[in-house]
Amino acid sequence: MNEVSLENVDLILGWQKGELVAKPFIAKNEEDIPKLIADFTCSINLVRFLHDLEFDGKAGIFVKGCDARSLEMLIKEGKVDRDRLHIIGVPCRGVVDAKKAMRIIEMEGLKSPISVTDEGDFTLTDGNKTVRVKREELLASCCLTCRSPTPQIYDTLIGEPVEGSKDEFKDVEEIESLSLQERWEFWSDTLSRCIRCYACREVCPMCYCKECLVDPTNVVVTPKTTAYEKANRPVWISKASQLQENMIYHLIRAMHLAGRCADCGECERACPMEIPVRLLMRKAEKDLREIEARLAAMG
């Protein structure tokens, strides 16, 4: 990390080496700099930490293409001050999906510690046994359709820009081609699994509301909140993790993220029940693009 220094920033938000997936790391002094890494294990979107991070001067932050998209949107919405950031862009060739990797490790019976190397395809090894895995089989699904793997906003760019692939929304079209009944069966099967842990909301860089419309359990109570206000808060959906409630929760989240979602895949990564959360966001994104194209054609 020669390009990175703490010269004009207080701290750098970056990644450090972890098992399989890199861990978030805050570099505060020069000794920490060599610990920073930026490779295919850095799947975590660091942008969401900016909401809670306290610093006086400037902060440096590592961003991949998708992280940069979410950061751009947050700057646009006035949630993050661009002048107080030093953005270090990392062109990304895709990150490893830990769940996919775990499945392969279990299937092959590898023992930890496992090291993963990227040579076009991935190689997993625990010292005794070596498994070669195709690139597409280990990459996170959002990386396979990434439009801009190279950050669009940055102050420093590390490495060579990477060309994006074309996103044709194949996964969305696959569901769209089903009949109404089949779609209902698919989604009721999928969403009845949801335990409403709100992990998808917690990790989302775009979900920064202190109080969530579809979460009756989190209420911001200040000393000024009256008993009346506490008692008469509208409760739009119940806490129960029941199918219809789950559907409304996911629908509202998709509505609130429509046109803002950076498609960083963080929600899917966080989901303990392996629900394709991204699919709904992508449907909204696809529709918005279609409208945009239609409006552009009209002139």
């Binding site: 569901i175 069966e185 989604w187 029941q242 629908l251 509202i252 509505m255 449907k283």
Partner: protein, 138 residues
């Protein structure tokens, strides 16, 4: 069978009023809710109605360009378009959400729309979004 109608205070609700003054008939299954602007209707209001057992939801506002608050009805139409697409994606009939533009003078249009929406709702089974434990208040 019930239909919840969100009517904007300036146009659609006034249209319903005119229909009443003109003694025009419209089905009693329609439950009007007065909102200051159709742009105030949040997707959660619509989904809440469907969850509580409404068969259909009608959102009616001023004609495009006539909004009392300049562009509230445009925002409503954008929001409802997206919500319709999303519920269709989940396998719920998109006809459950109806968007109409009714001005204060269009009493006849209001009663026609009301009849059409209620007939449409009668032709469908109960809403799939209705929570299983919700009681029937028929």
């Amino acid at each position: 069978m019930k239909v919840v109608a969100f009517l904007c205070r300036w146009c659609a609700y006034a249209g319903a009023d005119t229909a009443g003054v003109g003694r025009m008939k419209y089905p009693a299954n329609l439950r009007p809710i007065k909102v200051m602007c159709s742009g105030r209707v949040d997707p959660i209001h619509v989904l809440y109605a469907l969850r509580k057992g409404a068969s259909c939801v009608l959102v009616a506002g001023c004609h495009p360009g006539d909004c009392h608050y300049v562009k509230g009805n445009i925002q409503m139409s954008r929001r409802m378009f997206l919500l319709k697409n999303l519920i269709e994606f989940l396998g719920i009939e998109p006809e459950r959400i109806q968007v109409e533009y009714i001005s204060a003078g269009e009493a006849k249009k209001f009663s026609e729309v009301a009849r059409r929406v209620v007939e449409n709702a009668a032709g469908m089974d109960g809403s799939r979004l209705k929570a299983e434990w919700e009681e029937d208040h028929e």
